[in-house]
Each structure stands twice: as structure tokens, then as C-alpha cells.
């Protein structure tokens, strides 16, 4: 019963992943698929795998996906234009082939009762997993972690860029501002926000200076519509 419900939810979410227009919606459907899988693990008496599936896949990896998608663009949707010639045809052929193989294979399997679950989970699911991981499969386990660390370091090396000039601290910036003021009289403090002393406080209303003239620097350059004058007040 629980399998039927979970399978339905998972399959619907997987279809959503395929047909969603926005990348974020696709990523969300994938999250639902992952959580559905985790629930199925839980019903199959594998509590550790259940928790780890959610922590690792949903919590870390998919969050990273979401992060990248959100940073790349909020409203971008996939283009339907082919970039590799013949990709659609090949993908359809291979997909149908895989589906046919799977249906043929799974259709021939006969499902008997589960065996060996109680002996595999004897003394606790977590304890037995730890036993196996740190005795029989310890080399594979360590090799996997080495591989992951190598990949992480490789990514860092590829993305790393040497800084050529030293980073300016807050002290340096403050000293530079004061020096600029002494040299050219450039205003020291923060710019006045729009609308200061004026009759309106909307973003495109310039602030009024003490003598009643308008400070164009108080209006963001984009709103000023090209009136980007460097430093001079009208």
C-alpha cells in the first residue's frame, strides 16, 4: 500500500522533472523524487539509507543545483533548439530501447518473499552497515573518499585565481577617501539619500542641499536616465 502511494508520487514528480518549463520547478520535482526514494528505503527497513539519502541528496546536492540555477537566472527557461544534430532522434531511439529492455526484464522476474533481511539487520541496521563498511569494504570506502577529495581539490585548483595586488582593508579605503578629499575636495561621507529635505521621498526625487539646490548624486544613475554626471551637483 505504502509502496503504491510512494511510487505514484515519485513517478508523477519524475514526469514533472521532464516536462517542467522552469529549471527551478524541475529541480523541485527532482527533490520530491529523492524524498520519495528515501521513503521507499524507510519502508524497506533501511533507516540509515533513508536518512542519508535525504541529508546528502536533498539537503546538499540538490541544494547546490538550486543555488546554481538561482544564480544563473531567475526566469530563464530552456530553449527547445537542438544544439547537437540528430540528438532528438537518437535520444528517442535509445529511450525506447531502454524502456523495452526494462519492461521485458522486469516482466519476466517473479517476486518471491524477502529473504535474509533479519540476518542482515541483526543487532541494528546502523551497526551492521558500519561493520561492513569498516571491515569488508574498507578499501572501497577509503578509495571513494580519496576520489571525492581529489575531485573537490581539483575543482578548487581550477577555479582559483592568484590575487595580484594586495586586498584593500577598511583602513586603506578610509585613508584613500580622506586623501581624495584633501586633494580634490571629493565628498567624504555617504551620499545623501534621494528626497532628503525635498517634498517627496521617491527614489527619483533628488535630495536638496543646504542652499536649496538639488543634489543629482542622490539619485541612482539608472533612474536618472543617463544623467550620470560625475560628482557635480546642479
Amino acid at each position: 500500500m505504502s509502496f503504491v502511494i510512494l511510487a505514484a508520487v515519485t513517478v508523477i514528480a519524475a514526469l514533472g522533472l521532464l516536462f517542467a518549463r522552469k529549471p527551478v520547478h524541475a529541480a523541485l520535482s527532482l527533490a520530491v523524487v529523492m524524498i520519495g526514494l528515501a521513503m521507499i528505503y524507510a519502508t524497506l527497513e533501511a533507516p540509515f539509507l533513508f536518512a542519508v539519502q535525504i541529508v546528502v541528496y536533498t539537503g546538499a546536492i540538490l541544494m547546490l543545483f538550486l543555488f546554481v540555477i538561482m544564480l544563473v537566472g531567475v526566469d530563464t527557461s530552456d530553449t527547445l533548439k537542438e544544439t547537437i544534430a540528430g540528438q532528438k532522434v537518437l535520444a528517442t531511439l535509445l529511450g525506447v530501447g531502454l524502456g523495452a529492455t526494462l519492461i521485458a526484464g522486469v516482466g519476466q522476474a517473479s517476486i518471491a518473499t524477502m529473504r535474509g533481511l533479519s540476518s542482515a539487520n541483526e543487532g541494528g541496521n546502523v551497526q551492521r552497515l558500519a561493520d561492513l563498511l569498516f571491515s569488508r569494504y574498507v578499501i572501497a570506502f577509503e578509495a571513494t573518499s580519496a576520489l571525492l577529495i581529489t575531485a573537490a581539490i581539483g575543482a578548487m585548483v581550477l577555479a582559483h585565481r592568484e590575487r595580484i595586488d594586495p586586498k584593500q582593508s577598511q583602513t586603506d579605503l578610509a585613508q584613500k577617501r580622506v586623501a581624495d578629499y584633501a586633494k580634490s575636495g571629493k565628498h567624504l561621507g555617504p551620499l545623501p539619500p534621494p528626497g532628503t529635505f525635498a517634498r517627496h521621498n521617491s527614489n527619483d526625487t533628488p535630495a536638496l542641499l543646504p542652499d536649496g539646490s538639488q543634489s543629482t548624486r542622490s539619485v541612482p544613475a539608472i533612474l536618472a536616465g543617463g544623467r550620470t554626471d560625475e560628482g557635480e551637483d546642479a
Binding site: 535525504i54 539537503g59 541544494m63
Partner: protein
């Protein structure tokens, strides 16, 4: 019955009562914590705080909740409607779910049925809390994204980066607890702390957990996702009415959750504090443990409030480097130490408790002393009365002219309440 077998035996109506109790406890705790926070912060700022509604203003949060629910519910035009509505629910539901594995007490008699004061437990209960909490982050991230506003997006991004970073050090701080308890289930971890609280045995882990739980819940001084000066309201800038209330509820329940988890994992859970159990056998039986549990939990919540009332917000890069460059390596090193000491104790046949306690105390003392040593000494403020750029010269005769005379406390008032002040000559 001992161990995990005692769970899953309840009749359905006991389970229903427990679910209801967990829900009610979460909601009432939130209302109480909001009032308590406002009251304590007010005291710290020499104000009175809420005092109008109910005794001591206790009903203030309830009134605020009703007000929030009656406000207009706005949805921005650019918002992604489905995700925008789902996000607050996604933030709120996991917050409630995590409370289901928190043990409030031992086996008690609940309406004639012997049952543990805990909704359920599982072999991976603590991992379950971490997993569900990581689903809760989705609510915040998606809320930030779906609002279609820059402030919200930045707040959501910050919050997810922050929670992922601090979840790592939090998880590593928990590893030593698992090592010592030999289990991941909350009831077993409480049972393992019968003699020694893990907060004393694993002091460095406890401190790392305490720091990362503040980061994990987006509370001051780590409340960068809702930095008012920079991001308006952060991820919930565009939310109003009940949707905003759900986010608010989730934040306060999360605060209670991490406090309850800290109590369970490090301060002995529902066990009576300070060896009270040895003096008075009944302290660890019946419903008394609920009192100890909530006292310990409120201790953590009070620390949350204290931090908020005291510390300024961290800069983002400092905050990230604290998480990744200090807390993470420190917890890794401490895990190795604990594993080595425990293994040596098993091989050598001695109890690791005093060794761990001494080692942890020494490490913590060294770190704290080193930190105090690094603080810059306060230099006396040097005034430059001669003046120079950009400070103008001070006026002749000091900073302030016409200042009041120094305050002099005269003799006590006479019988009729008249105070006879000394003349200026006498005062000199």
C-alpha cells in the same frame, strides 16, 4: 521494556494524543518564547517590554498572531505563485516534524497506558532531525527565490549557504556523541548519559554545537539572511499575513528544536540536573523529568536571547571563515582525539570519562585563553586639542563651557524632608 522495542507499541489514541501534545507544545512554546524574548531584551535595554495584554503581557504574542492573521495577504506580481505559497508550508512542517523524536521524559502512565514521553524513536533519530531540518531550508531558499525580488533572493541565498555550512560543523560535533553513546537514537543517547553528561565529557563538541546551532537557526549574531540594514527583511521581505506568520513560527520552533536537541544530546535530556537523581530517587520518574527537560531547554533559549541582546551582527566573510576554517577543522581534530581515547580505554580496560573530561577542559581553556590574548588592548583615547585635519581645534578652556558643577552628595534630609545643601565654599 528497554531500548527501541518500547516504541511502536502504543494504541492509536495514545499516538493521536501524543501528536496533539507535540503540536500544542510547539505552538505554545513559540508564543511563550516570543513574549520571553521581548521581555528579556527589554530588560537588557532598560525598557519594560510588553505589559498590556494578559498578566505580565503574556498574551501579547497571541494578540500579535491574531493581528498578523487578519492582515492583507499580498502576493507580488512577479512571484512564482505555486512556489510562493508552498515555501512557508515547507519551512513550517519540518519544524514540527523534528520534535517527534525528542524525548520529553521516561516511561510514564498516560491515561492508564505505560508509554515513553516521546512520539517515536528510530535507530537514526538524530540523523532524521538533520535530514528534516535540511528540508526546512528549502522553504527559506524557495521563499527567497519565488518572491521575485532582489532582497529576497539575496536573503534566501545567504541563508542556504549559511545553513549548509553550519550543518557540517553541527553534524561533526554530533559524531563524538554517537561515538560515546554507541547509538543514534535519542532515547538511547539519554540513557547513555546516566552517569556523565556528554556536555562535560565532550566539552569542545558541546561548544561547537552551541555556536553552530545559532548559525543554523539564523539568529543574532548570525542573522545575516535577515540583516535589516542590508536586505530589508531578507527572504521574507515580500511575505505578509499568515504566510509571514508561518515563517516566524518556523524560526521560533527551530530555535526550540535545536535547544531541545542540545539538551538531549549534551545535558542529559530529561535527567535531573546536578546529581539530584542520586539524592532523590523519584526525580527521574513520572512526570518530574518534563520539568528538568524544559528548564534545560529554556536555559538554551535564554542564551539565544542573551546573544541577541548583546552582540552585533558578524560580517559575512568573517562568519563563513569561522564556520569553515575554525569550527570544521576543530571538530575533525576533536573527533580523532575522542576516537583515540575511547579505543585506548577499551584496550587498556580503564574508563575514558576522566581523561576525556580533563582533555576537553584543557583544550577549551587553551582556546579561550588564546582568544582573550588576541583581543586588542583598549588604548586610552588620546585627544588632540591642538586640532588638525580633519578635526577642528577645541575651544579654549576645554571641551564644554558652562557645564554643571560636579555632583555633591550633601547631608541626609532633615525630619521634615528638607535637604540642606552645602554652599559651594563648603563643598570645596
Amino acid at each position: 521494556m528497554n531500548g527501541l522495542e518500547q516504541f511502536g507499541q502504543d494504541p492509536w489514541w495514545i499516538i493521536a494524543i501524543k501528536v496533539l501534545l507535540v503540536f500544542v507544545v510547539c505552538v505554545v512554546l513559540t508564543l511563550f518564547n516570543i513574549w520571553w524574548e521581548r521581555k528579556v531584551v527589554a530588560r537588557m535595554q532598560h525598557r519594560i517590554g510588553p505589559n498590556r495584554h494578559g498578566p505580565f503581557g503574556l498574551l501579547q504574542s497571541l494578540a500579535d498572531g491574531v493581528k498578523l492573521a487578519l492582515k492583507e495577504d499580498l502576493t507580488p506580481e512577479k512571484a512564482d505563485k505555486i512556489v510562493f505559497v508552498t515555501a512557508p508550508i515547507l519551512a513550517c512542517v519540518p519544524a514540527f516534524v523534528t520534535f517527534s523524536v525528542i524525548p520529553f521524559g521516561p516511561e510514564v502512565n498516560l491515561f492508564g497506558v505505560r508509554t515513553p514521553l516521546q512520539l517515536t524513536d528510530m535507530p537514526v533519530a538524530v540523523l532524521f532531525v538533520m535530514a528534516i531540518a535540511s528540508i526546512g531550508i528549502y522553504g527559506i531558499v524557495l521563499g527567497g527565490w519565488a518572491s521575485g525580488s532582489t532582497y529576497s533572493l539575496l536573503g534566501g541565498l545567504r541563508s542556504s549557504a549559511q545553513m549548509i555550512s553550519y550543518e557540517v560543523s553541527m553534524g561533526l560535533a554530533l559524531v563524538t556523541v554517537f561515538l560515546m553513546a554507541g547509538s543514534l537514537s535519542t532515547s538511547q543517547i539519554v540513557a547513555a548519559q546516566e552517569d556523565w553528561w556528554f556536555g562535560a565529557l565532550l566539552l569542545p563538541s558541546f561548544l561547537i554545537y552551541c555556536i553552530s546551532m545559532v548559525g543554523e537557526t539564523n539568529r543574532a549574531p548570525f542573522d545575516l539572511p535577515e540583516a535589516e540594514g542590508e536586505l530589508v527583511g531578507g527572504f521574507h521581505t515580500e511575505y505578509s499575513s499568515l504566510k509571514f506568520a508561518l515563517f516566524f513560527l518556523a524560526e521560533y520552533i527551530n530555535m526550540a528544536t535545536v535547544s531541545a536537541l542540545a539538551t538531549t544530546l549534551f545535558l542529559g535530556g530529561w535527567r535531573a540536573p546536578l546529581g539530584l537523581g542520586t539524592l532523590w530517587a523519584g526525580a527521574n520518574e513520572g512526570y518530574w523529568p518534563v520539568l528538568w527537560f524544559f528548564l534545560k531547554m529554556f536555559f538554551f533559549i535564554w542564551i539565544f536571547i542573551w546573544l541577541r541582546g548583546t552582540l552585533p551582527r558578524l560580517r559575512y566573510d568573517q562568519f563563513m571563515s569561522l564556520g569553515w576554517k575554525i569550527l570544521l577543522p576543530a571538530s575533525l581534530a576533536w573527533i580523532v582525539v575522542v576516537a583515540v581515547i575511547k579505543m585506548a580505554a577499551i584496550e587498556g580496560g580503564f574508563s575514558p570519562n576522566w581523561v576525556l573530561f580533563g582533555f576537553g577542559l584543557a583544550v577549551t581553556a587553551v582556546v579561550v585563553l588564546g582568544f582573550l590574548n588576541r583581543l586588542p588592548e583598549k588604548e586610552a583615547q588620546v585627544s588632540t586639542p591642538t586640532g588638525g585635519f580633519p578635526t577642528p581645534a577645541l575651544p579654549q578652556g576645554g571641551a564644554v563651557r558652562g557645564a554643571a558643577q560636579p555632583l555633591v552628595f550633601g547631608p541626609p534630609p532633615t525630619a521634615n524632608g528638607v535637604r540642606i545643601l552645602p554652599s559651594p565654599e563648603e563643598a570645596k
